[in-house]
């Protein structure tokens, strides 16, 4: 009796983690392919570079995970990233504000927009898709409103953040941005796994009505996830401005799609209620490794990235569908 329960429980656990395991397996396979094809691929720095080049996407995708877990979607993230970078560059350049003050302001804009969008979604019952679409237009419009061309950043704090290297051994290094990104991941993991807010997020994604009947604070939680997503986008925008040392009105176009793709490939159900931050991290790494493979190959053009991502999206959605059907 106890053994069967244990087996069933173990089976359920395996099934629950299957999408994440599949993503992890895919990542290993892709890495193995890279190592077997290109000698330089086994260099540890290749892995570090994936993190360095995708730190901002990682942070943005973590925020998107919160929203998608509640069954919503946030299309504004790419534009909020651009707006944060743009506002930082503008405040530093045009107004010569103190860097600390700029960071505070930059980190306030994203969550404020997210909070407003969350309120509209919750209180006026308008679909997240449309509200965040308007948010996307708004943030992108603000970028061009500030400047229609790229604004360089020459602030000493920013340049030192961009050039700082945290060294491991002789010739391997990461940038401080990677540490920040990993810290965001750790906090998000803790919040989702061990706090009341995390439990409410999963409960609302599972079934909003049941969650409301159970007395969970649905309104507060839903507004919170859009605020969190806005905050993550703002952090992502700061990291991107460290990375590029400029703010440009067209950076981050389509980043919301990359973030959604990473979340889906990471095994989070788009209907909400099921998924893990770890999966999202793996999803971002899969996207990063695809990019690296295509760069290493040299003969493949950049558009293959999109085609491969599309194929992977299809495969993972199909996988989720198969698991989902068996469950119900």
């Amino acid at each position: 009796m106890t053994t069967t329960t244990a087996t069933i429980a173990r089976g359920a656990a395996v099934k629950r983690y299957l999408p994440v395991l599949a993503t992890g397996f895919l990542l290993l396979v892709m890495y193995a392919v890279g190592v077997s094809q290109y000698r330089a691929f086994s260099n540890v720095q290749v892995v570090f570079n994936v993190f360095i080049d995708n730190g901002f996407l990682l942070v943005v995708a973590v925020g998107m995970t919160f929203v998608i877990l509640t069954g919503g979607i946030d299309l504004s993230v790419g534009s909020v990233v651009a707006m944060t970078a743009m506002v930082s560059a503008w405040l530093l350049g045009e107004h010569s504000l103190h860097p600390a003050l700029v960071i505070v302001i930059a980190l306030l804009i994203g969550p404020t927009l997210g909070f407003v969008m969350g309120c509209i979604i919750q209180f006026f019952e308008i679909q997240p898709f449309i509200v965040t679409l308007a948010g996307m237009f708004f943030a992108r419009g603000m970028c061009t409103f500030i400047s229609s061309s790229s604004v360089p950043i020459t602030d000493p704090f920013w340049t030192s953040a961009a050039q700082a290297r945290i060294r491991f051994g002789e010739d391997n290094f990461i940038s401080p941005s990677v540490i920040i990104a990993l810290a965001v991941v750790a906090i998000a993991w803790y919040v989702l796994a061990y706090t009341g807010l995390g439990r409410n997020v999963y409960a609302i994604g599972g079934n909003q009505q049941s969650a409301a009947l159970m007395g969970l604070p649905v309104a507060r939680t839903k507004i919170a996830v859009y605020t969190i997503s806005g905050l993550c986008s703002a952090v992502g925008g700061l990291l991107l401005s460290f990375y590029t040392l400029s703010g440009a009105p067209l950076i981050g176009v389509g980043m919301e799609l990359d973030a959604i793709a990473a979340v889906v490939i990471g095994g989070t159900l788009l209907s909400g209620g099921s998924g893990y931050v770890l999966g999202t991290v793996l999803g971002v790494l899969v996207l990063g490794v695809i990019q690296t493979l295509i760069t290493f190959d040299g003969t493949l053009s950049s558009w293959w990235t999109k085609i491969v991502i599309g194929g992977l999206l299809f495969a993972f959605i199909l996988l989720q569908r198969l698991i989902g059907t068996r469950r119900s």
């Binding site: 509209i120 679409l133 308007a134 419009g141 229609s148 991502i309 599309g310 999206l313």
Partner: protein, 355 residues
Amino acid sequence: MSELTTRLAVLARHRLFWPAAVLVALLAANVAYRPSFLSIELRDDHLYGSVIDIVRLSAPLILVALGMTLVIATGGIDLSVGSVVAISGAVACLWISELDDQNSVGGVLVALGLALALALVLGAWNGFLVAGLGIQPIIATLILMVAGRGLSQLITQGQIITINSAPYKLIGAGYWLTLPFSILIVAVVAALAVLITRRTALGLIVEAVGGNAEASRLAGIRSRRFTFMVYVVCGLCAGIAGFMMTSNVSSADGNNAGLWVELDAILAVVIGGTSLSGGRFSIGGTILGALVIQTLTTTVYAMNITPQTSLLFKAIVVIAVCLIQAPAFRAAVTRWRRTPTPAAAPAPAATEVRA
């Protein structure tokens, strides 16, 4: 006086009232800025004028939005239309660019046929994922949205294909019977759509499927078949829109053609009063919505504001229109108005649009 207000109240409740009011307000703002805005003149047997231009430029968007309306009416959404626009334009231009005589009508027709067939296949792929495998529409079409952009770049090899074909040019930039040819195409497609959905039971069936797919299936409607069909139709509409966009500039750009048109199309549908949750649709509303979006863009251009800042205005219009149409917001406003402070809110749309 009271009769007038009742009539106005009845009018305001018509579901095309708000989109029409926004359009009129936009046009009025334009006339205030430039009094000659509404004038239309006949030159070389062709009609010219800002209004004609707006309609001509909004033709591809109207087409895409018409397909989107049907998809949304079934409770779905199609994010891949922008990619389909790019792919169909790329295929047509690639085929024409390899013709010995780019002006041969036969060759152009073959190119159109090929591209339309491909658009049909892409629409069928979306339909298969949604109706066949039961995947959420937003996710199912996300696949083609991402991969399709890559495919269109693959077709054009990342280059811009330039062509010089008179028959193809006619589709997007030509004139026929003094009117831009693209307007005529849209008129025919829209008339067909209205005829088919409102003179036959098809429209009702689509609305039934959107209202409740399971219930309509139990009522004997093959809901899956109809869901599949609307995605095919949406793909075809996007395909034709792809011809118009590439024909207008005589070149295909796999990277930028049809970029963000899916968002504009969804906006047009929403502004036109079709609910994103499905079950009801209005083709007239969608056409009005597309005209509102194009007029807004033209207005921003005309007033010498940076083109991309038009996104800011779009955001304001979208939120205003959505709020006005949202029952929860209306309830909140009515409650607020009943409170004794009569410093009443002006109609949100009118003020925010002019802002």
